[in-house]
Symmetry: C2
Amino acid sequence: MTVLPNTSTTASELEGMLAAAETAATDWAQRPAAGRADALVAVAEALDAAADQLVPVAQEETNLPPARLNGELKRTTFQLRLFAEMLLDGGYLDARIDHGDPAWPMGARPDIRRVLEPLGPVVVFAASNFPFAFSVMGGDTCSALAAGCSVVVKVHSGHPRLSAAVGRIAGEALRGAGAPDGLLALVYGTQAGRDALLDPRIKAGAFTGSISGGRALFDLANSRPEPIPFYGELGSVNPVFVTEAAAAARGSEIVSEFVGSYTLGAGQFCTKPGILLVPEASSMVQELSATDRPAPAKLLNERIQSGYTSSLEGLLKHDAVDSLGGTEDILAFPPAPALNITTASALLADPEGLITECFGPSALVATYQSEEELLAVARVLDGQLTATIQGEDTDAVAPELVRVLAGKAGRVLWNQWPTGVSVTYAQQHGGPYPATTAPTSTSVGTASISRFLRPVAYQGLPAHLLPGALRDENPLGVPQRVNGALSI
Amino acid sequence: MTVLPNTSTTASELEGMLAAAETAATDWAQRPAAGRADALVAVAEALDAAADQLVPVAQEETNLPPARLNGELKRTTFQLRLFAEMLLDGGYLDARIDHGDPAWPMGARPDIRRVLEPLGPVVVFAASNFPFAFSVMGGDTCSALAAGCSVVVKVHSGHPRLSAAVGRIAGEALRGAGAPDGLLALVYGTQAGRDALLDPRIKAGAFTGSISGGRALFDLANSRPEPIPFYGELGSVNPVFVTEAAAAARGSEIVSEFVGSYTLGAGQFCTKPGILLVPEASSMVQELSATDRPAPAKLLNERIQSGYTSSLEGLLKHDAVDSLGGTEDILAFPPAPALNITTASALLADPEGLITECFGPSALVATYQSEEELLAVARVLDGQLTATIQGEDTDAVAPELVRVLAGKAGRVLWNQWPTGVSVTYAQQHGGPYPATTAPTSTSVGTASISRFLRPVAYQGLPAHLLPGALRDENPLGVPQRVNGALSI
């Protein structure tokens, strides 16, 4: 693996990396899944072993506290191990075998067998807010490597030294596990990232970050002579709907948990609950106003801080918005957590102006007058990563609210909080635009591997030319759908 | 269902259809899968019963012979029945259940459950060359309806009366099966199709046709404030690689089968084998030149005929191309099947000029000097729907040729021909651009339903609020992946 200092990657350096990535992808795609799994585990072990060296660098570069960073690193290495397990299971291959059938009703059916295969070299744009879990060896890289792709990471400018260290350690571990040279490369600088995305050898892109940045790269990927899949995880407001019954039964508890969730990590989560809808008739606004908020915390970097301040100032200028508490502290450096207030009818009157992400420690409380109004707000939402209901089992509004929110969000929560995205088999971190640019995919959880795979069917091939997953004797022991029936 | 005459749909008519499609999608998505399956079967039965009425109209509008049209209708109604079966199996839902797990290694895991749900209203752009199978009630409409989406079909101008008749019969059958009004609508005219694709209520597009037309619509779908998935099946050359051993063992047989395949349906198949690579040292060119070709046949319509003639004339002007036989007949109306000849080294020198689709009854034969050259041609290919090898089991070149072609094509065939795409569980009709705009998907076969579904995860929901497929007691009897392990 090539690790460069934090200067922009030159065109000729990039050319070398892309050429190596193409060769490496061909090699890596042909490795048995067990070999790829071993390499992922080797990277996990190497990163765990280097925690004491990596976490202080991460802390210096991101202002995030050590406990959080250690937890994030643990998540990152767990993810590598979970994907290694999935490779051995083989269900992700969606192997299908149709034997020839002369009696097939539309006419004799040939022998056709279909399996998912890697797309080729992929470019991953690292995020700023999770310097381990959504960066050099984060979910995008992990799922692309697991799929059998090589990866060129565009390093985030917010943590270049950590990125170089993670890249060096991961690269050594991969090499030690026998992975091909050039399987993982790091590039620095916006131009190099764009150039990589436009290179014909690159077959997909993945991104986590802002709507404007992600949309620009999505448009770039689609502008290519050969457009490629671009998996961007962009922005989300993650609204929370508190029903009348829940407010009455657990108002104080909800207030306290909400403040904990929207201020977690200084509000720098894609899943931060940015809007809280509460009944006007309840005492929740009063309680929100009276609840202590955490102390001011430094944001990730100056660019995040200035972006946050300016969007918060914009919101405060809105006629329908008031501050719950003064505005001095919340616009300071570092900023005190902010809470603002409006009404559901104002949200409905100006959804574009008010239902909008403000990346940092702030949230907007909106009071509603009836549960019909609550449903109306749900219906005007854009695509979301998450939508949360705080409700009671007997709530009459719940079924319709769940249905509407499932049409808007990738994940619907009940009496829990959206921050903290567990890496599991059933996790879904995605959603309609602008939550992502690819609503049919997820960027967290084992299903995220599908982003980097494409189906290939083999018709009439002799057994010795078929991929192992498609052979009748099933040497890899993967789940196969044979003549339409799933067998495991 | 609204069926309009063959005049362009007006903006206000379109508005009515889109409003109805949105309401219908909400209703249809909530129907039990068994109800959707019954409706698909009802459409199949109604179309089968109307064959004698529909086929003559199709024949008048497309110049295709009755036997072919009857077979195509049978394929179309079989497809509807196969998708109905798949709905009852439920494997397409990819249901996943993760129970809460306090010992989950990265930290306590909440209860998360994930299932695929319909995207919403979809616009389908019908193709000209399969007036039943890739038109109003073709694969795109069938898979979208099965997924739980409503469909607005942009009728192909080549067969408007057939489209109206199919739309009317399908609409009545759907209504008879209790489907909501507005579930299927037909629009006429390029502008109405574009306007539908740009409408915010539409959540995906599907298309089968030319590279230029498909790319324009793909760009349009991506230009929306909310970009949406666009599944375009565009163009493919479908090259055939004859190894030296196969040429020696079965040269005459291959020649005769090849002529049958490239002239099938007057060459108007997306999977027509457009390039045949044969050993220079063999007698295959001589045999190709001597083999009788079918009689001239009218093409689908005048637009197809003039496009065909002009791209064939362009090819004949290429310095490296000669005609195998005279050029008078092949440029006539109707055109005699054309065969042209070049060399593999010419393909390598000018892939863009020579490896290009010519939609109609023509093919290009290219002679190669070594199997290394054969591999070199495989390596310069753009994305393809299919790639075919005519080989012998002992061919040393076969493993590498299969591997390279699997990286380029959605379907790799061995000693068979690509025309005729069976509707099965393992079928893959797709491929990297320009074969399609979405290399991770298929437009034929049961897996095509995935194009119109998006994952939704439910975290912590009480059982009564969960979709049936995600309940522990599995009332629908669908395959579930529970805590990572697949159970059926």
